[in-house]
Symmetry: C2
Subunit: 353 residues, 2 copies
DNA sequence: CTGAAAGCGCTTACAG
DNA sequence: CTGAAAGCGCTTACAG
């Protein structure tokens, strides 16, 4: 009954089975095969059954690349990430890939070493006809943004935002979070604060610093110390070393991320022999897993990852469906997670315990 | 001079510039354009210059999808990962993506929640015509392996291996590492060891356990305690809680990975109030960043990530170039990183200090 | 070196 | 519901 398929032996590679082969085997046209594998396709139950049977027998797998060439939709989203090794971004990556997969999108991952590599990564992404691009912790040049806009490819920045209204963005409200930390530390009676900055020229670090320092100044607090730790453990460890070698060390340190805060705590307790929070309060940012470990009990401003990735997905998918939609920037508040590493205002202590 | 290009307004989307457009603008054929963008293409310097100029002016970007349809090479590699959130695998991912990008391959990432999801992930990968597949910490069914083999797509398992000689693999020699830890603890005079297993039915955990227990038995050591922590912090924390609630607690704990070891140490010191290594030695596996933090100083069997990913790349790229090459399995030794969390044999103490 | 033509594997109006 | 035909954007023998 079934047509005999003569395999045209193609050198070393086994012949790949194509919709044509399935059509032959099922005794229908390629159109019928295509419709069977397209979800809205109108096929009779009879032919659908024949096609499916033939496809299964031959081991047919539709070629997504060929399909996307004609549909102009690749169902791939480019995901550009700068520092996967940072536990915060590892969770962001996991969250995005889960959400993208759940809506049938595939993840074309670009890992960039330096933030500047982004303008080289994007053309490659565009060549692969991704339906959209998500960029975390980096910002593309306005020329590149222009190129993407012209190509009708929506771009979403994650944890960055730009003044020009050409690119969408989802970002924690870092300025507000910085202000909140200032209030918290002052209310608890700290008198000499320090800010431990992340990588230079990143809006995340800058905004957290600005909110923190501005609010400190508004309330007439002592001028805070500022040092820098490049967003990594070693950086936080070293910066805390400098901070506490001073004659006038701080009694509170606000770190621009948790990884640095953990490094700072190790320096403060293991090397300097100081107590946290009795001698010095430490507050971090992100809410990574280690912040909750009993060894640290780090008070931190948590970034709401799931909410942020959901908002980004919403913006992205809407613009993939309708590229004429204007860009949109959304800010998500950080959330205080109060733990043992910081002396807190009286009223909060009651609430926590 | 330059030909006037009339943009055919295509609804909302801006017209995408194609090799045809560039050909027109440069006054040459599509073939010439194609050759200019193919690295071995024979084009005169004159036409190459004209083509490049036209391409730049129009903002032409070759369509990689269309190209791969004809070349039968997508320059995409499927990367299947089970737990990006584990710092060890985050580093593996970063290492692979860096190496793949450096050889012009692009990463199609599949993040799977459960290890069993892998047989669903692979068909999707295959539909996108990836040139090969790397699977970390999971093992595909032999039926799926068969499918990949038939499609001529090389598959490399990372940190897994299979008996059937149909799939390549790169794996730490977990059995040998387990034996080494047994020797180490026994030589240092420990008398009651415990093994803290990872996720059930994973070869990594099983092999580490087997090597450890076998060697302990060979040397006539006391029967070791065994508990399970599912490869996560909370699991290690809880398992250590059970271990040290016993009347006969161990004086040494070998954990199947570092994340559990860190959890165990927090339980041992913060909750139980025991000292490490004075009361109990702790040894981990992987060599994650936290193992080196002063708060833990965790002695661990480090997996040589860079070497392992390099070997995997070697195997993969060779088989992409020549699919007839037979599968190959390579084992890489783990490396002891001696730190303060374990009492070590006398001779090693001298070497370390 | 160069161009016309065929074709990669699919989808999609268009008639029937 | 169904099939023949055109076409997505590219590359690659094949002649010249």
């Amino acid at each position: 009954m079934a047509a005999m398929i003569v395999e045209k032996s193609e050198g070393r590679e086994c012949k790949v089975v194509t919709s044509q082969d399935v059509a032959h085997a099922a005794g229908v046209s390629r159109s019928a095969v295509s419709r069977t594998f397209t979800k809205g396709g109108s096929v009779s139950e009879h032919t659908r059954r024949r096609v499916l049977a033939a496809a299964r027998k031959l081991g047919y797998n539709p070629n997504a690349i060929a399909r996307s060439l004609i549909t102009q939709r690749s169902n791939m989203v480019g995901l550009v990430m700068a520092d996967i090794t940072n536990p915060f971004y590892a969770r962001v990556l996991e969250s995005f890939s889960e959400k993208l997969q759940s809506v049938g999108q595939h993840v074309l991952l670009f890992s960039i070493a330096k933030v500047h590599d982004i303008d080289q990564a994007l053309p490659a992404l565009l060549q692969y006809q991704v339906d959209g691009v998500i960029i975390t912790s980096a910002v593309l040049s306005s020329a590149m943004a222009e190129t993407c806009a012209k190509a009708g490819k929506p771009v979403i920045l994650f944890n960055r935002y730009v003044r020009e209204t050409i690119t969408s963005a989802v970002c924690t409200d870092n300025v507000a979070a910085g202000r909140e930390v200032a209030n918290l530390l002052l209310d608890a009676g700290h008198y000499r604060c320090a800010f431990l900055a992340g990588t230079a020229n990143t809006s995340t670090s800058n905004d957290r610093q600005r909110g923190f320092l501005d609010r400190l100044a508004e309330r007439g607090a002592l001028a805070p110390l500022v040092d820098r730790g490049d967003y990594c453990y070693e950086g936080g460890f070293a910066a805390a070393g400098r901070l506490f070698a001073r004659a006038d060390p701080p009694d509170a340190v606000f770190c621009a991320n948790d990884v640095m805060a953990v490094g700072a705590m190790d320096q403060i307790r293991q090397v300097r022999g100081l107590r946290v929070p009795d001698d010095v309060s430490v507050i971090g940012f992100d809410g990574i897993a280690a912040s909750g470990w009993p060894s640290y009990e780090l008070t931190t401003m948590e970034q709401q990852i799931e909410r942020m990735t959901s908002e980004a997905m919403e913006i992205l998918m809407a613009r993939i469906a309708d590229p004429t939609l204007p860009p949109e920037t959304r800010f998500v508040p950080a959330r205080l997670v109060a733990r043992a590493s910081a002396r807190l205002p009286q009223e909060m202590l009651a609430a926590v315990s």
